[in-house]
């Protein structure tokens, strides 16, 4: 219906913008890889420990990179008040939210995928449960971060000292999905004897359902003056 069409158009704009400004995308990816390197140095030389925590390093890398991607994604909208231009076209705030959130989701997914080979190289971590479940974890985790992330990045972009505010607002919020994503990813890497992957992905899915719907409902309050 109308919302889906509008969201798809906003998503197309989002992806076109990411493509046109792909230098920033490369920078975000490099930033994420840099965090992986930092972790491997910080993690000490004990390979077994590094392998054990590789899922955690992956997700902390994605989360830190997400603040860059989300902050940038919204700076673009508020810099010349493009978001007001969209609202006055008119485009419904919910469509802007879903378009941008899906855009951010794909960016985070891309950053995650780029990190996977490095995870194997640096931490000798190979997904015993196969690449399929691994991509599913990446998708679910990225989706869980991008919904509250887009909402709060919009808040931060319009308030003062935005760079401080986004992590301050976002990190406590996404703790449960980081916990779930790390546990799920770890099961994929280390093997899932008791088949708990499904339940962790279930939590991520529930988290997404709640935050994607609440985000859509509240987004008009954040963008309208």
């Amino acid at each position: 219906m109308e919302l889906i069409l509008e969201s798809r158009a906003v998503l197309a704009k989002e992806l076109l913008h990411v493509w046109r400004a792909r230098a920033r995308l490369v920078a975000t990816g490099t930033f994420a890889l840099a965090t992986l390197l930092l972790f491997s140095f910080a993690g000490g030389l004990n390979d077994a420990a590094l392998r054990e925590n590789s899922a955690g390093y992956l997700w902390i890398g994605i989360l830190l990179a997400s603040t860059l991607a989300l902050g940038e994604g919204l700076r673009v909208e508020t810099e010349h008040n493009a978001i007001e231009m969209l609202l006055l076209l008119p485009v419904s705030p919910a469509a802007i939210f879903y378009g941008k959130a899906i855009g951010n989701l794909l960016v985070l997914l891309l950053v995650g995928i780029v990190m996977l080979p490095f995870l194997t190289v640096l931490f000798d971590a190979t997904p015993t449960e196969g690449v399929g479940p691994l991509l599913l974890c990446l998708f679910a985790g990225s989706a869980a971060i991008s919904a509250p992330g887009t909402l709060h990045a919009t808040l931060a972009a319009r308030a003062r000292s935005r760079d401080v505010l986004l992590p301050l607002l976002l990190f406590p919020l996404v703790i449960p999905c980081v916990v779930a994503a790390v546990q799920a990813t770890h099961l994929v890497y280390a093997g899932d004897p008791m088949d708990q992957l499904g339940s962790w992905l279930g939590v991520l899915f529930a988290f997404c359902v709640v935050h994607w719907s609440v985000g859509g409902l509240l987004y008009s309050r954040v963008v309208e003056d």
């Binding site: 709060h152 308030a159 003062r160 939590v203 609440v214 309050r221």
Partner: protein, 217 residues
């Protein structure tokens, strides 16, 4: 100072807390397993109960503001978040002290403790958001939005930490409550509720005064 009924409420609450603590410290029987540290319960449980209620009050205030657009709701939300954060921090400190004796670590990933700690962090972020936005109406609307999202998030925090923990350590819980202990606990809970009402109503009046000043400039 006229019509400041909450002063009486606060005073009664304070005295109640004083009496409850005294009873908790000396009169109440010793808890079978936790020995002396069991007495922390008399201040820990009521505070935990209150911080949850305060964050829920902030949630109600936020919805009220978004729907009714009346400033009283925004003051309620602001006051409840602030008091909630204060009590939440106290709770974490108490929990940490208790964990130190029970498991000899300063922080136990007990789902309840961790949920409160995460909530305190979320609402500290919202207090920061309030200070970073000048326009009162935007400040009210945005902090209301962030409060709703933070509140909705609490069950997930609890669930994830509970699952994560139950894979490693068993969960500790209080043995059945001895009737005497129960009485002291009830007294303290009522007392802390009264004190919290004093906190929120006073902070509400302060927010109201700030608002009047802001809007008469």
């Amino acid at each position: 100072m006229k019509g400041r009924w909450e002063l009486i409420v606060g005073a009664v609450g304070g005295l109640g807390l004083l009496a409850g603590s005294a009873l908790g410290l000396w009169w109440a029987p010793q808890e079978r397993f936790m020995l002396e540290t069991g007495r922390i319960l008399y201040v820990h449980v009521p505070t935990a109960w209150l911080s949850m209620i305060l964050f829920t009050a902030a949630f109600v205030g936020s919805i009220g503001w978004l729907v009714k657009r009346r400033w009283g709701f925004d003051f309620l939300s602001e006051a409840s978040v602030e008091a909630g954060v204060v009590l939440g921090c106290l709770l974490s400190v108490q929990g940490s002290i208790w964990a130190h004796w029970t498991w000899n670590t300063w922080w136990a990933w007990d789902p309840r403790l961790t949920s409160v700690a995460v909530m305190v962090l979320s609402f500290l972020g919202i207090l920061a958001l309030r200070s970073f936005v000048d326009d009162p109406e935007k400040r009210a609307t945005w902090s209301a939005t962030a409060t709703i999202v933070a509140w909705v998030n609490v069950p997930f925090v609890y669930l994830c930490v509970k699952w994560m923990r139950s894979l490693h350590q068993g969960q500790s819980s209080v043995a059945n409550i001895d009737p005497d202990m129960g009485k002291v606990l009830l007294l303290n809970t009522v007392a802390v509720t009264l004190v919290a009402i004093y906190f929120v109503v006073t902070r509400w009046r302060i927010a109201n005064a700030v608002h009047q000043r802001e809007f008469t400039e």
